[in-house]
Point group: C2
Chain length 177, copies 2
């Protein structure tokens, strides 16, 4: 969480010919405003989910997320596969998995085909716990997306797909270089 926000860098230097701050209070470039808005949406949803998860189930979002990933793959996933899907660094998973193993919700074993890899898998208890949370989670998401009509959602999906493509290019350009 953390709001990037617009720069003030050139809002002073800019000549006043284009000074139409009808409703834009401060942000300069439309791209910055767009990013700011996307980020706000994301944070709002995420924070709400996090709070409700804690309040109603005493759970954290990363734990729920990990369970959700495993729920989709009954055979289990390696830790690095998990870290890719959850979009977190791999060093992160060791402790997270550790705690979930202690809770009895997942089990971890060395891959039979690759001595380096650890495979995590849901236990029956973990699956049951997850199922309850997932139902609530789904309701929350639907509630928070309620303001959009069907055709709007579809439009949004497409536009975000485009953005995602741009963003991923920049993202990957990093690790490659």
């Amino acid at each position: 969480m953390s709001l990037i926000a617009s720069s003030i860098s050139n809002s002073i230097a800019r000549p006043d010919a284009e000074t139409r701050l009808d409703q834009a209070p401060a942000a300069d470039h439309p791209e910055l405003r767009l990013w700011l808005r996307l980020f706000t949406c994301s944070t709002l949803v995420e924070t709400t989910i996090r709070r409700r998860l804690r309040a109603e189930f005493g759970e954290t979002l990363p734990r729920f997320d990990l369970l959700a990933q495993l729920a989709k793959v009954p055979a289990g996933l390696t830790l690095s596969e998990l870290s890719k899907r959850m979009m977190v660094s791999n060093g992160n998973l060791t402790a997270l998995v550790e705690r979930l193993v202690e809770a009895g919700w997942i089990e971890r074993r060395t891959s039979p085909t690759d001595g380096r890899a650890q495979v995590a898998r849901l236990t029956a208890a973990g699956r049951a716990a997850f199922r309850k949370m997932a139902a609530a989670h789904e309701r929350w998401i639907v509630e928070m997306t309620g303001g959009l009509a069907t055709h709007e959602s579809e439009q949004l999906m497409e536009l975000l797909a485009k953005w995602k493509a741009s963003a991923r290019r920049a993202f990957e350009g990093e690790t490659a270089a």
Copy 2:
């Protein structure tokens, strides 16, 4: 960071009349897919910014964010005003402000009108440091939004505004209740 992902909860219970998984690999409800995609965009952009900020300036995102907020208000902001704008908990700011004061980039003093409030303000050094980072940050954002045409950006702004409204309702319903 943490990817909520779809539930598997009812993907088995659902009758196969509606089983058109042409391209949707796993997610059930369109709302979940939408949220997932928004979240992915957000994380992709955020992670890229974070990495570049570290690589090129040795800075972290929260520090940059705080400077950005202060840059918009020369007179300074109280810590609680900052926490609202940055969308983080207030307990968070104490240490963050502390470190930025040590770096000499901001200064903090008790508000003359309210003995409880601490007002943070950029120093000249902080403003200079921020300016350099802000210019780069702006370039990065523009780069990552490059795939969208002008009319698409505008559309996206509107759709996200609607979503934001829904999400904020849910968000505020929490603290009010």
